[in-house]
Structure formats: structure tokens, C-alpha cells
């Protein structure tokens, strides 16, 4: 009689309970990042920069060094860290309100300079922490607390496609959009995160993984309905796929 543990939480997580709502996929992405840190054995030299938003306490959940940057400025803080400590592995974890709204300048220029940092971008098409306001990535017609009749082009413009925007910048080494809706998608996301960190370890340039994620509370659905809504609506607007890959397949 022997007992084998086949799946258990990764070591790079601190073990502290996540403060997210039930069914929020922030936790899934946190776990995937920690798994990749374990796999690449970089826990001792990893530094993370948390954003402002629901994941503002993200540095508490990882067992790595970390700090939190002013709203949207995580890539700028990460740039400083990486340039001062060249052997470290620096990643930022940002939501759509942080990265695609107030932090647009920082992310575009960090990507264009080819800073050797990794950004994980969580896109759930809404502001979570502040109570479900319209984000730049909110879909047309989608109802939020600041556009209760649905987003319109005349008033609010079009949803921002961050990957499509960044793929033309020169310094980008790895760029992919994924989801964490099904176990298959979760495995693909882990592979993408691994490649993004590998791009940084090889010194190829800036890497970003955009993860389409659910916000059951502010979408006003239960967690399972939210995953269905993501499949039907969010994935139609934001096409999942690989945009830039300078890493190659040999890992």
C-alpha cells in the first residue's frame, strides 16, 4: 500500500488564502505562475510587481519578493528592478483597468524598449475591485455600472485589443492570448507562461501573456455561467492565439 500525491499546490505560493470572490480565475492564474516558477527553479531570484485592483495583494500570495506599484506603473517599476538587478527574474501582474487604461503608456513603452521583464495581463472586461465599472476592454453592448444601457461606440469607443496593439512593437519577444476556462486551456496557459518566463531568462526581450478571465461577481452571474459567457462573448471579441514567439520550441 503506497500513497502518491499526483496533484498538489506549488511551493512558490505562500499558502495564504486568496481574497478573491468564489470562482474568480485570478487564483488559477496565480497557481499557474507559481507552478512555472517551481518548474524553472527561479523562486529565489524572482521579484513580482503587483498592480492596483483586485490583485493588489498578489505579493502576499506568492512566496517571492514583491512590491506594489502605483496604478498602471508596474512595468516602469519592474524596469528599474530588472536594470538594477540583472540576474533577477521580474514579472508584473496586471488587470485590464491597470494595464489597458491608466497604464497604457507604461506598457507600450516597456514593450517597445524590449525590457527583459514578463507581464501577465488579466483581461476580464470590467473593473473588479471598485465595483464593476466600464473598462477599456468592456465589450460593445455590455452593461456595467457606468454604462447601464450597454457600451456604445458614440459614447465610449471600441474595446482595446492590447495584444494586437503591442505586436508591432520592436522589443517584444513573446506575446500570446489565452484563457483559463477549461482544463485544456489551463494547460495551454501554463505552457504560454513558461515560454514567457523563458523569453526573459534567455534575455530575448519583453514578454506578455494576456489571460481572458471571468469576474462572476461584477458580471452578475454564477461562476459556471460566467465561464460560458466568456466562451460565447469575450472569446469572440478577443481572439485567442499566439502573436509573437521569438523563443522557439526548444526549451
Amino acid at each position: 500500500m503506497s500513497v502518491l500525491t499526483t496533484f498538489k499546490p506549488p511551493k512558490a505560493l505562500s499558502g495564504k488564502e486568496f481574497t478573491y470572490c468564489p470562482g474568480c480565475q485570478h487564483g488559477t492564474v496565480h497557481r499557474l505562475i507559481a507552478e512555472v516558477i517551481d518548474e524553472l527553479q527561479i523562486q529565489g531570484r524572482t521579484i513580482m510587481v503587483a498592480p492596483v485592483g483586485c490583485s493588489v495583494f498578489a505579493y502576499e500570495f506568492f512566496d517571492v519578493d514583491g512590491t506594489v506599484a502605483a496604478h498602471g506603473r508596474a512595468p516602469a517599476v519592474a524596469t528599474g528592478m530588472k536594470r538594477a538587478l540583472k540576474d533577477s527574474v521580474v514579472f508584473t501582474y496586471q488587470g485590464d483597468g491597470d494595464l489597458a487604461a491608466i497604464g497604457t503608456a507604461e506598457i507600450v513603452h516597456a514593450a517597445n524598449r524590449g525590457e527583459k521583464i514578463t507581464t501577465i495581463f488579466i483581461n476580464n472586461a470590467i473593473y473588479g475591485m471598485t465595483g464593476g465599472q466600464m473598462a477599456p476592454t468592456t465589450l460593445l453592448g455590455m452593461k456595467t455600472s457606468t454604462c447601464p444601457y450597454g457600451r456604445t461606440v458614440e459614447n465610449d469607443g471600441y474595446p482595446v485589443h492590447v495584444c494586437e496593439l503591442l505586436k508591432e512593437t520592436g522589443g517584444i519577444a513573446y506575446l500570446e492570448r489565452t484563457t483559463v476556462n477549461t482544463p485544456q486551456d489551463i494547460r495551454k496557459t501554463r505552457k504560454a507562461l513558461r515560454k514567457a518566463f523563458t523569453a526573459q531568462l534567455k534575455g530575448l526581450g519583453f514578454s506578455l501573456v494576456e489571460v481572458l478571465s471571468t469576474c462572476p461577481t461584477n458580471w452578475g452571474m454564477n461562476p459556471i455561467e460566467a465561464t460560458e459567457w466568456l466562451e460565447e462573448n469575450l472569446k469572440r471579441e478577443f481572439k485567442v492565439g499566439l502573436f509573437v514567439d521569438k523563443v522557439g520550441d526548444d526549451q
Binding site: M1, V3, L4, T5, G23, Q25, P183, P223
Partner: protein, 76 residues
Amino acid sequence: MAVNYVEIDADRCKGCGLCISVCPKKVLRFSSSFNSKGYHPAEQHDPDNCIGCGFCYLVCPDTSVTVLKETSKAGT
């Protein structure tokens, strides 16, 4: 003959039900009891049919799932 056990940390579980929705063998369900947060946590009710695929572990957003495999002798 191996039996797979899904250990769910009932006090971490927020009862979102994602693990129950993806389980291919339907061996998970909501517990009838409450945890310390006031949610009905998920529980495994049928370990004999569990194939140990780890889908519940993969989708769990609160890292409350651990999957264990009990074998009658090593390597089977």
C-alpha cells in the same frame, strides 16, 4: 488496483462549483454541511470511480484541491 482520492480543504473552498462542473466522472458534489466561511464546500462522494485526471485541481481557483493515488503495491 489504484484508488484516487480528491482531498478538498473544506475551509479554503468557496463553493464555486467549477471542479464539480468539469469532473468527467461526476465523482464530486457539494457537501451538505457548511464550512467556516458559510459556503457548501465540494467533496468527493465516489472515490472508486475517480480516474485521477486532476481536472478539479487544474480549475480550482483557491488551490484547495490535492489529488492522491493509493496503490496496492508500488508501481501499479
